[in-house]
């Protein structure tokens, strides 16, 4: 059974005096126990909204889904009190900007110890009065079990001098250290799932590699599943076991990391992979997918990618199909359901795409020019 199993998730933000914004439009997502699942997509593809809908913390949004199960139980059927126990206890969250996601006026040890007291297995009161005493007057005693656990967690996430670092404030730490602190905080309640929302985007590549290694190690050693949100295919390749590719509120492709990189099926995935800069010196421009993602209110019918897709044809205006490419590999592209032979997507015709026009094969097998939206 999947740890997290979401089917046909739709998230809509009502807008005063305008059309509602459907940020997520029919997303399926499944995270298996003990894996790192990547949720990849460009800005505005709805990946963060998808992830945050798991915590039920999307203010003002209408969330609908055919299934929204965590450990086989419907998260959206739970009471708010039950959700508070699940947050932090079963599901931890790591944010992108560790500077603003940590409370600036509390020591990091305090912030981890707090989670431990609320969710962990320590015999310490987390009542309002004792918490107020700790926060405003005495601080958590460093002999208290929650504090010792906090120091332990800091050590687990690879912080040197954990006992010293626990007594520092967030602004006294480096970005990488803060990110590790956040991971330690997410681990404070012994969760089964950690949602990491672009945890390394604000870091430089060396530090990023360290954090990703850490996530990988936690996943392997501590039996934590991780839902890793990123826009960086490099991060996916390095870290994830399986991937969901999102585009403009919909899932385009879902596969194991190996399948995705070896045999990408969807034209969008192919385009993304083609845009990854190769190592070494390159002259000239980086490869891109022409055009930009549509606004949620201006999505075309059917496949949201069809305006930018070099292989688009009439069927693309129909609702997205579901095609199983292989075991554990599915894509939502009409090329596979409407055509006997999907053929090769004409992504390699660089010159033609740059010119805004590309040759694609239509149903009759004859080449015809197709306009590609340019910006």
């Amino acid at each position: 059974m999947s740890l997290l199993d979401v089917e046909n998730l739709r998230v809509t933000f009502p807008v005063d005096g305008g059309p509602d914004v459907r940020a997520v439009d029919g997303v399926d997502i499944a995270v298996e126990p003990g894996e790192i699942h990547g949720l990849v997509g460009e800005s505005g593809s709805g990946k963060s909204v998808t992830a945050r809908s798991v915590m039920r913390l999307l203010d003002g949004a209408v969330v609908e889904a055919d299934r929204f199960d965590y450990r086989g139980e419907d998260l959206y059927a739970k009471s708010e009190a039950e959700m508070r126990t699940i947050r932090g206890d079963d599901i931890g969250m790591v944010f992108q900007d560790s500077m603003s996601a940590l409370n600036p006026v509390m020591t990091v040890g305090e912030q981890i110890a707090e989670v431990v007291r609320h969710h962990g297995d320590v015999d310490e009161s987390a009542g309002l009065l004792s918490e107020l005493r700790r926060k405003y007057v005495t601080g958590t005693s460093e002999t208290a079990p929650s504090w010792r656990r906090a120091v332990e967690l800091l050590e687990t996430v690879g912080i040197a001098d954990p006992a010293d670092v626990a007594t520092t404030y967030p602004h006294q730490l480096s970005g990488g250290q803060r990110q590790r602190v956040m991971i330690a905080q997410a681990l404070g309640g012994d969760p089964s799932l950690i949602i990491a929302d672009e945890p390394t985007t604000a870091l430089d590549v060396t530090v990023e590699a360290g954090i990703l290694d850490e996530l990988r190690r936690l996943c392997d050693e501590m039996d934590v599943s991780i839902l890793l949100i990123t826009h960086d295919l490099g991060v996916v390749a390095e870290t994830c076991d399986s991937v969901t590719v999102m585009y403009s509120g919909s899932v385009m492709e879902r596969a194991s990391t190996e399948q995705l990189f070896q045999h990408p099926a969807h034209p969008y995935t192919k385009g993304l992979l083609r845009s990854v800069p190769e190592g070494g010196a390159t002259d000239g421009e980086l490869t891109t997918i022409p055009g930009s993602a549509p606004e949620p209110t201006e999505r075309p019918d059917g496949c949201p990618f069809r305006d930018r897709c070099p292989a688009a044809f009439e069927a693309c205006a129909d609702p997205l199909p579901e095609h199983v490419v292989d075991a554990g590999h599915a894509t939502r592209c009409h090329l596979y359901t409407e055509r006997d032979d999907p053929g090769e997507v004409a992504w390699d015709a660089d010159a033609d795409i740059d010119a805004g026009v590309t040759a694609v094969t239509d149903d009759s097998g004859e080449p015809s020019p197709t306009e590609v939206t340019d910006g």
Binding site: F95, H119, S141, T168
Partner: protein, 303 residues
């Protein structure tokens, strides 16, 4: 590596009744490192001690009248501050007066702060209808002249310490509410509030445990400024004769009584005047130091 953390080590921790004293290092450093802060703290402590131990320290009974030495000037042998128009020792009256003046303003501002911060916190955190309703209520409080409330209270309940406290507290609720709300409005948008929800804290706890500590610095400054203003307000009420009982010595009342005699006996009004000014200044300087000590993000010791 450990050296980079501003000396917050865990090895050399000293404690007092289980409280880790290194938490107060900043406060101690700020209060002793800056002469203005030291002055502020010393002044406040001296005045508070003088008020608390007035019965032990006062050289004379503040009510005892000595007709032989009416309006004795300052520095006259037995009466360092002189005597008032009834021959009562001014130093003793000042010390007893400090009890009312300091006590009333501290209690009144504390009440105003608790109610005001509570309202502002809830209004700012929840926003929307809650915010509108609470802040309109605060607007009504603000629109009410506090002097009128004081007069009304005195008219209904008669003169008394608690009426003065109520009138002053009432007047300061809106100051605290507005300031707290403004702070909370920006703090609640910070990601750590969302992070706190993500670790399963309830709204009440997030407000009190996560948001409020971030708003403490400006609220402390507001508190000290208003304590100073409350002393003036208490003086005003006593001066107008609607404060505490007229015979009770308070700084404002002393000032008011001395006013008509300023030609013959300047010290009767000047001395309580100086006391008010020095206390207000001391409290403000102390407040600035407190704010610096609480603001863990700021530069150390910047005035």
């Amino acid at each position: 590596m450990g050296a980079d953390y501003g000396g917050y080590g865990s090895d050399d921790t000293t404690r007092l009744f289980g409280v880790r004293l290194d938490r107060f290092d900043r406060l101690r450093e700020t209060l002793t490192g800056d002469y203005k802060a030291t002055f502020g703290l010393t002044t406040v402590i001296l005045f508070v001690l003088a008020a608390i131990f007035a019965p032990e320290l006062a050289p004379f009974d503040p009510m005892a009248q000595e007709y032989a030495i009416m309006q004795a000037p300052s520095l006259s042998s037995a009466h360092p501050f002189g005597t008032d128009s009834f021959g009562r020792d001014l130093l003793s009256r000042m010390m007893y007066g400090a009890r009312i003046s300091l006590g009333v303003s501290l209690v009144a501002v504390t009440i105003g702060a608790v109610v005001g911060i509570g309202l502002g916190l809830v209004a700012g955190y929840f926003g929307g209808v809650v915010d509108d309703a609470l802040m309109r209520f605060v607007d009504v409080l603000w629109a009410f002249p506090w002097l009128l409330i004081a007069i009304m209270l005195v008219a209904v309940f008669g003169q008394g310490v608690w009426n003065v406290i109520a009138a002053i507290a009432f007047a300061y609720i809106d100051d605290f509410a507005r300031l707290a709300r403004g702070e909370v409005l920006s703090i609640r948008e910070e990601e750590f509030v969302l992070a706190a929800k993500n670790i399963g804290l309830s709204d009440t706890r997030i407000m009190i445990e996560e948001v409020l500590p971030n708003a403490v610095a400006p609220l402390i400054v507001q508190f000290t400024v208003l304590v100073a203003r409350a002393m003036l307000a208490e003086s005003t009420l006593s001066f107008l004769g609607i404060g505490v009982k007229p015979t009770t010595p308070t700084w404002g009342a002393l000032l008011g009584q001395g006013r008509s005699l300023i030609g013959q006996a300047w010290w009767i009004s000047i001395i309580p005047g100086i006391a008010i000014v020095v206390t207000v200044l001391g409290i403000n300087l102390f407040g600035d130091a407190l704010r610096d000590a609480f603001d863990v993000r700021g530069e150390e010791g910047s005035p």
